[in-house]
């Protein structure tokens, strides 16, 4: 394991994450338009609660029932988690390189991300 190899692995992981997320959002979007294409939209004023479930467990539960908005949200969550996975891989990669300093640096970034995302659940 060296830095360049680690970067290539991370690059491929990121691309796979984005493709999976985009496919999920697209599937949810098609389902949403099939059911709601003629609905009137109004996003002129922001309303808390209009964006559907906003806890991770709530989103996953609603998506499991086949709700199109929640499926799109699962896709968006996958997208948000992609960079998190990237930092996790970096922690492991630096440990394999026996680079303690950067394993710790990556771990700090991971903890900051975890703090922010756990805040949302």
């Amino acid at each position: 394991m060296n830095d360049h190899r680690l970067e290539i692995i991370i690059g491929q992981l990121l691309r796979a994450g984005v493709l999976l997320a985009a496919a999920t959002v697209l599937a949810g979007g098609v389902l949403y338009l099939a059911g709601h294409h003629a609905d009137r939209t109004n996003y002129h004023t922001f309303a808390v609660g209009q964006s559907g479930a906003h806890t991770i467990s709530g989103i996953v539960k609603t998506a499991a029932r086949g709700d199109s908005a929640a499926i799109m949200q699962v896709g968006l969550l996958l997208l948000i988690l992609t960079p998190v996975a990237r930092v996790m891989v970096a922690v492991v990669g630096f440990l394999l390189e026996r680079d303690r300093l950067y394993a710790v640096v990556s771990l700090i970034v991971l903890l900051i991300l975890a703090f922010s995302l756990l805040h949302a659940t």
């Binding site: 830095d3 360049h4 680690l6 970067e7 290539i8 991370i10 690059g11 491929q12 990121l14 691309r15 994450g17 984005v18 997320a21 985009a22 959002v25 949810g28 979007g29 949403y32 338009l33 709601h36 294409h37 003629a38 609905d39 939209t41 996003y43 002129h44 004023t45 922001f46 309303a47 808390v48 609660g49 209009q50 964006s51 559907g52 906003h54 908005a69 799109m72 949200q73 968006l76 997208l79 948000i80 988690l81 992609t82 960079p83 998190v84 990237r86 930092v87 970096a90 300093l101 950067y102 640096v105 970034v109 900051i112 991300l113 703090f115 922010s116 995302l117 756990l118 805040h119 949302a120």
Partner: protein, 278 residues
């Protein structure tokens, strides 16, 4: 507007924004937010929520192509991400507390700076430097390909760059943009890292920075799936297409045109923020 019309119009606008953002290197978010708020009257909080997720998509989608060229520096990126993620959380926290008018004005100022950068063009690379004591201890220096061979570069002024990165993260969290331009200034101007290394490393950092504010955005309800869906899919399509065409196009004229568009958006955003229309 019906949901179908809204989805198609937003998709097309976002694809255009992502395409131009990739060609000019300024990113899609900076155009998507004003396009949604000014042209379609979407509330700015939905616009920045949708922009934030599209930023994660383009940054992550492009990373695979960038790393293959061997310019990005994973240590510099990871170390500075400590500053950008903490900044992003602070920015997202602020976004929930300031008025939409204030957000619009700050956004307009960021657009002004982006317009200035696109008129100015890509700066000439300064001379390479040796790493200072702190950068040496952090092993931040590296090597990058120049005309077929590897050239070493050093890194300086780590505290200054770190502070600037906190600011870049805060702007990203406040406005739902990648703030790649500020990240590049921190690395290229302050830390004396080569331009090409700065831009590719910045792209790498944008996704992680945006993910840090995403938790708060979700909690506040900024990420509305029916707005974010066409924005994310559109920006991603446009950006991937733009990256493919980049090699074949004359970017200089395009940057000027894009700069003029951004300048107009900046003025409109600031005026609307002051008069309370956004």
């Amino acid at each position: 507007m019906t949901a179908l019309e809204f989805t198609l119009v937003v998709w097309a606008l976002s694809a255009l924004a992502g395409f131009l953002g990739a060609l000019t290197g300024l990113g899609g978010g900076v155009v998507v937010v004003p396009a949604l708020t000014l042209a379609l009257g979407v509330d700015m909080k939905y616009a920045i929520g949708a922009s934030l997720v599209s930023v994660i998509a383009t940054s992550s989608g492009a990373a695979a192509a960038y790393v293959r060229e061997g310019f990005s520096n994973i240590r510099i990126g990871m170390f500075l991400e400590i500053a950008t993620t903490v900044g992003a959380i602070a920015g997202a926290f602020l976004a929930g507390r300031v008025s939409t008018h204030a957000l619009a004005i700050v956004f307009g100022l960021v657009l002004l700076q982006a317009a200035y950068l696109s008129f100015k063009g890509i700066p000439e690379d300064a001379e390479r430097v040796e790493s200072d004591a702190l950068a040496t201890r952090l092993r931040l220096g590296g090597a990058y390909p120049v005309a077929g061979s590897l050239q070493k570069y050093g890194v300086r002024h780590v505290p200054g760059g770190f502070a600037m990165m906190f600011g870049a993260g805060a702007l990203s969290g406040l406005l739902g943009i990648g703030s790649g331009a500020v990240k590049v200034i921190a690395m290229d101007r302050i830390m004396r890292i080569p331009f090409k290394v700065s831009t590719t490393t910045s792209n790498f950092m944008i996704g992680v920075t945006a993910a840090a504010s995403a938790g708060l955005y979700l909690k506040h309800g900024y990420i509305n799936s029916s707005v974010a869906m066409p924005v994310m899919l559109g920006v991603l399509t446009g950006a991937l297409l733009g990256a493919k065409l980049l090699v074949h196009m004359r970017v200089k004229t395009l940057r000027r045109v894009f700069g003029a568009v951004i300048l107009a958006l900046a003025i409109e955003m600031i005026v609307n923020g002051i008069t309370g229309k956004v």
